[in-house]
Symmetry: C3
Subunit: 680 residues, 3 copies
């Protein structure tokens, strides 16, 4: 059972750094927070140098003073352990704690996250500061919970210090037991890479390393983060069992599901939709800020109700990069409800006031440097008022979906390096997610794990598992049962040709699911450079000229139950099968020999009987996101308008709108960046 935050009502918080400000400002700050219905502050996660100004010398008085005052204003406190920024005395005295570039060059002090997770000395020093800090604050009445470290694997998610190489060797010995097993798993016979002693082993040290090593490297990093976090979680559990434990972020090379299951009470996320404005070139058809719903959906797959530990409340920016413009009026509120729709019950803005010093002077908080009234403060106060009104209804309800886009960590990590399936994954997931969004079909981002059950899958009418290159017979068996019981399952090119080491099967494509799909792959080509994608012929279902993108597999039907749905319409394999469907039991399985593009998903959705919920009495334009949070007792539809233009709804039955309390019906205009919550 996934672990969720337990809140009685939607709760607002704010990140606060008292060490950045004159003490005489605190009381006014807390007073104003109280007025805005902010009841939680998060702090201390970058304060190691204050808490332990020299090795073994501790001073916890500062934050005690802050929390005493906060407590007077009814504020609850989330404390961060300060291990994301070891102080200068520490890295100067123990340079072995630093992370290193792949070439072994140490990453010096001066930014943050400059340490490695493996150094025994760093682990020891972290245990000491955390033990002392938790002891000092565990009985303070304001404290409600702990954030471990900050944004694991943010900025850097690879680690090449000497301590990491050593820890990797230990991890490998545990996994493989013998070098012979390891050599087989990594295929080291290729290019004479055979290892004959454990000390010959390192994390990757070259460009284009052995790909099986590269996959294990990512698994090791994830395990290493969890083992590092566990040291701290164990201390908190031991000393402060009354507090909850979480951490924030969703970054690479970390199995956040396992981290949460093993150590946390719930997972937290940092949501900055304005990032969508600074990389305009990536995708001309990008969902922009709405795309953050996809990330929030991933967080939901870990903790159905969760905390947003940092919710954007102004433009972001470091001094020298990440240059964001200001959110437009209404967007901060819109993005807050985007978080709420997808399961946030505790929403903590980053941050109370923009820092006047350091790298993040442009990572704006609600207040400006000068503390004068501004529209961001007013907008957050509005959310505060609304939470007070509706928070008890919404808290604890959960997002509802009948469609899942499925992924797994092995394929994500293998696909980072592997250009023959990784890019396909992103292409297909994006196409499916966008089309589901435009059609108002709520969707989950499901992560297939070793403990995933048929029950977990059978909640969904449709599962899209587009390019699982790594696939086992066990997974194939589970998926077969999913289809047999009535599910509709979609695969794409390059499915099932690798085993869990990342080696290729000596089996016809798509390997373990060839039989389920009733097809094999006869010929294929990567689409790249001057190699053009073939067009697709689907009897008018897709626009003329629609391409089968990224990869083209020529399918060979092996089973009379498998039906050819679409053919290639150009190139030397013109007329050959491109898309097949096989009915199995009560369900059906589709195989597409390419990566999914939006027109193809659009045509598929026309075929499926998945409708928008409440479509019978509500019409919503494509620019508006629709999602539903429900409990056994109640159900609420969220409408979020990401456009800078008003949106016209057709409400065909009188319905109560929660934020205004008004009953709405017929044509209703949502303003630009508007939010509507309907009681169903």
């Amino acid at each position: 059972m996934a672990k969720s935050i337990q809140m009685d009502e939607l709760t607002l918080g704010v990140c606060y750094y008292p060490e950045h400000w004159p003490e005489e400002l605190w009381e006014d700050d807390f007073h104003r927070m109280q007025e805005m219905n902010i009841s939680v502050i998060r702090m201390a996660e970058f304060a190691w140098a204050m808490l332990e100004p020299e090795e073994g010398v501790f001073d916890f008085s500062f934050f005690t003073r802050v929390m005493d005052l906060a407590h007077q204003y009814g504020l609850k406190v989330i404390l961060g352990t300060p291990t994301a920024t070891p102080p200068a005395w520490l890295t100067h005295k123990y340079p072995e704690v630093l992370n290193a570039h792949q070439n072994g060059e140490l990453i010096k002090h001066g930014m943050r996250r400059h340490y490695n997770y493996s150094s025994p000395k760093y682990r020891e020093l972290c245990e000491i500061i955390v033990r002392n800090m938790v002891s000092a604050y565990k009985d303070h009445p304001a404290v409600i919970g702990w954030q471990i470290d900050n944004e694991f694997n943010c900025e850097k998610n690879v680690f090449y210090a000497e301590a990491d190489h050593a820890a990797f060797r230990v991890w490998l010995r545990q996994k493989y037991e013998t070098l012979d097993n390891l050599n087989k798993a990594w295929g080291t016979v290729f290019w004479s890479q055979t290892y004959t002693a454990w000390e010959q082993l390192h994390l990757s040290q070259t460009e284009s390393p052995n790909p099986h090593l590269a996959l294990d490297e990512k698994r090791f990093i994830s395990d290493n983060v969890i083992s590092f976090a566990k040291l701290q979680a164990d201390i908190i559990r031991e000393l402060a069992p009354q507090h909850w434990v979480t951490t924030n972020g969703l970054f690479g090379h970390l199995d956040s599901h396992e981290l949460t299951d093993e150590l946390l009470d719930f997972f937290s996320y940092d949501s900055y939709p304005q990032f969508s404005t600074i990389f305009p070139g990536n995708d001309e058809n990008s969902l922009k800020d709405r795309g953050w719903s996809m990330s929030l959906s991933k967080v939901r797959s870990i903790s159905p109700n969760f905390c947003v530990m940092e919710q954007q409340s102004g433009p972001g920016g470091w001094v020298d990069r990440i240059e964001m413009g200001s959110p437009r009026p209404g967007q901060i509120r819109l993005w807050s409800y985007q978080s709420v729709l997808h399961g946030t019950d505790l929403l903590v803005y980053f941050r109370w006031r923009t820092a006047t010093m350091g790298t993040e002077i442009y990572w704006h908080g609600i207040n400006d440097y000068h503390n004068r009234p501004n529209r961001r403060v007013r907008e957050v106060a509005q959310v505060g008022g609304e939470f007070a009104k509706i928070g008890a209804l919404i808290a604890g309800t959960k997002y509802q979906a009948e469609v899942a886009i499925m992924q797994d960590y092995d394929n994500l990590w293998d696909g980072e390096m592997d250009k023959w399936h990784g890019p396909l994954q992103w292409q297909s997931k994006g196409s499916w997610y966008k089309q589901l969004q435009y059609r108002h079909i709520p969707a989950d981002l499901l992560t297939l794990r070793s403990n995933t059950t048929l029950e977990d899958l059978s909640k969904y009418k449709v599962i899209v598992y587009p390019h699982a290159a790594i696939m086992t017979d066990e997974t194939a068996e589970l998926l077969t049962r999913y289809v047999e019981q009535g599910g509709k399952l979609f695969f794409g090119a390059r499915t099932g040709y690798k085993n869990p080491t990342g080696q290729c099967y000596m089996r016809p494509f798509p390997g373990p699911v060839a039989e389920l799909c009733g097809i094999t792959v006869e010929d294929f080509t990567l689409i790249k450079g001057t190699i053009q994608p073939a067009e697709l012929n689907w009897e008018g279902r897709v626009p003329s000229g629609t391409k089968a993108v990224a990869f083209n597999e020529v399918l060979n039907v092996q089973n009379s139950e498998a039906e050819v749905v679409a053919h290639y319409a150009s190139e030397y394999y013109k007329g050959e099968p491109a898309l097949t469907r096989r009915t199995v039991g009560k369900g059906e399985v589709w195989y597409y020999g390419a990566a999914y593009s939006e027109p193809v998903v659009d045509a598929i959705l026309d075929e499926l009987s998945i409708a928008t919920p409440i479509a019978d009495w509500l019409e919503v334009p494509a620019a508006v996101e629709l999602g539903i949070r429900s409990s056994e007792d109640a159900s609420y539809a969220f409408l979020l308008n990401y456009s800078d233009q008003p949106a016209a709804l057709q409400v065909k039955r009188a319905t109560k709108e929660l934020l205004t309390g008004a009953t709405i019906e017929n044509e209703v205009e949502m303003p630009a960046y508007g939010v509507i919550i309907l009681e169903l």
Copy 2:
């Protein structure tokens, strides 16, 4: 009082490297120089290995022989100290003298400028070679002056050797005295960067370092260059007080004003306008070679009359980069007069003959490898003849301007890293400079320094100080007095929000000048990525669709004397004030909430009563630069045609042209690349 070169007449020189050529060529070379009216040669600045072939062994006979011969031909000699290229024996024996990359990796021997300014050993060896060299040559009758080192901070203007870290620590102790002061100035409480021992301190060692450290790093580098140069200047002053001292170049991270004030007799510059042909993509509306007038104007702000130590006399190019085509016929002469217009009284061509070996075989001199007659030689000889004719009139006269674009080192250096104001500076300065050029309004590039006085400013009717993020109350006071006494002052977005440490004020924008301007900033956005600039509405003064570029601040008029001149015409702040003007005393102060673009400057100039000098009787096309050099007794207008097309002038009164001696009137056609000098 700024330090100028003192010449009786415009003087031609040439860089000459006798060590590159067979000795039997020298006499012919000197003879031909004499024929071309070249009277100065510069040499020896890369000859350390000849002068001190092994440590402590000196041989000064070679250049004595050269100078004896030069002296016979009436040539005067500028000697360069050879410290820009330490010899192989030196760097091999003392690798600690080498500069290093930020990661600490030494920059090896093989190019030039591979040393650091901090190494005690290098300073010692430099003192020894300079003392010996000056002693050897100080009494030679040909020598007139010394160039210290060569192009300080060219190629590399950051330094990360161990000796630099150590010197930085010394510099910091002198500046801050205590670590507590330093920690406050750098805001190290952010991200737990607090320093608890001096040895923890380093120059920046990471990407995105602490920005206040990064600013101090540039100040340190500048001070360090000056302290390095001072060792040499002191020796020359001591041993050869009859010679002048200069150095050449205008490169980053060096306060060339302070360098000159403290150590030099005047500043020198190396002018290569052909660089404008090799980066065509930078700016489609670039001034191209005419843009060098802006650099020459910066040099003028240091030394109103100065030396060009290297004037381009052919295509430039290293073997593997900096690939320039040939200057077109007339351009070498045009660029020579460009230098003269802006204050050059001693103009030294680089170089007599193209080197046949080494990295710079394509950095062409006047003569080709093969020494045959060519058009470059003929063109330089023409300049020589003209200088003989007009040189006594022009020398000592000074460029005249009533408009100044103002900058300061702190903002330049802070803006290198800070993407929220640095790019604005370049945008606005470029727009103002171009529009002033096109309108033939001479302008100075003024550097605001700690010793700048009201008298320095009040020479100008208009001062543009566009985006001084770092601003003190003292500066605000000086600027207020400037306006009160009648000046017109222009600010742009992001003015006045930082103190000299680079930390942000807790004051309403624009901080120290908010009261002067009579406005504050209510809302703002960086324009970047998908964030679009608003249009500007200035009652028809700017073309429809003109954007307020780079940054948009919504202004809030705080003072009834402040008048809104233009409004934003789109985006959510449509109708809000964008440009204001306040009359203060006899002057006025303008604030523009964006960066200046050319249409906006064009409209502002329409408003101001700054006319082209001599506009009443002279009409000049936009492609021609107009500037005036004057003394108390005389005044000369230079017309420089940068176009490859002829330009038609209207001369409404009979005027003497200096180069031809002719009197011109009515329609006069300047040839492509033509030069006219009028006696006013």
Copy 3:
């Protein structure tokens, strides 16, 4: 006399890696090879870790077992020495064998070719493994020859380990004897680089190093490869004199002619025309896969009949880069005959089956992982059948050409760094090669070497030697004799201004050949950035608007026998000579002051009396390559259609087609990717 492979018939082989596969597959593999007429397998070149699993412990049984079985199926074996991939135990124990980046950082284990050629320890270990391996297999009846190492200088062709610096010093002492000679040759007086002790010398350690050092560095690398290869060749010659010795590849910084002449029986090449699909941006007018004919022509210049050791038989690709699509049906066969046309008599496909593990899982072999029938297997089997039919006729015949594009290693290597002539070489060679291809004029790629004789040159009616910046008087004398005896010789801009050290002559351009050409260069400009090329006026012979690209030299006719053929038609040198021709003896010499572009070559070819062979009875479209292989007894014309469209031939006399045995005449349609071989 060039060394050729000696084959009685065209022979098919395949690369096979038995260590990658279960032993139970071998027999089926060999059986199927036999069926496809594959009679040679190449193996063992990456198997060091198997042959010597720990230092000094050898096990040769595995490949003996493989070869025993292969021998039963009549397969002959080429064995590769395994020195391209030193095993993990070796690099772990002896890190000094590793190659290094220019900054000295070691290139760690994990890829291939991670060693340097200089390490005495590595040379010792290589001698040991090679001696043991040759001893073990020399008497096996299946073995026919040896490949030394694999693809020398592939991936990395620069070497900066400590051992390389040391070996470079030894090489320099042998070449220069004294530091004074070296200092003069490198022009170290420039920038004070003079060396005063041998230990100060290193291979280049900076960007923009001394260019004369950079040229010697490449010569050293080439000599060093050859000396490394010689250790192995000598052992094989000593122990297995009955076997031939070769190596494969054509990579940078290696004089493959010298390598072959000194050590090998013939040269081998690895041909992957599909690389042409993955860099589409390079040249919109690229020859694409047909361009491989140019590389094959270079191989032919070393060994007129040679081995292709790796012929592409499927898409290539590493896990993380080099992403190729699949060859289209027919292309594998087409490319096989492309190799044959240009002199391949032994053609070895890479590889039998795609590897299921390691970096090259996408470098596909004939068979897929799963070993099922596919079109690639069928296509190779077709080639096998055809070779059986025609192989005895073709083997030993040689490609015929009357035109040569000439190059030399010195200019190639100097031009890598030198942007003032290197890019011109590629521009001109490409233009000539393409125009000759389109016109069906067979051409050789000739390498001018120190032992090239007049007889070598006089085989050609036309020689194009476009931009030989480095040129000696001896070469000029040889070229003069070539022209006098009737040759037509073409030069381009930048000819003859450098001596063999890469220093510039103090002679009028084009130096040693100025007198031969009867011209000098008066003015010149590089075309770069905003510098535009002039148009060319050749009395209607070139299309209006044709530019004289890359460089423009204004020619000055010095000799009444030299005639101006074309003039510049724009820019300031409009009307000046651009292209000249001088008749000398029975021949003529042309000089073009720019780089050759296709329209200019087109016009020149119109002037010359070089016709397509057999043009009197055969018309071939431009898309089809035409070449002829002949012996004294017979002659065969190959027609290769690289287009995806059919091509129409006009065959005006009845002619026998070899592959079908049919007689063809009149209009004949070649299919897309078709191959025709005519008996002449």
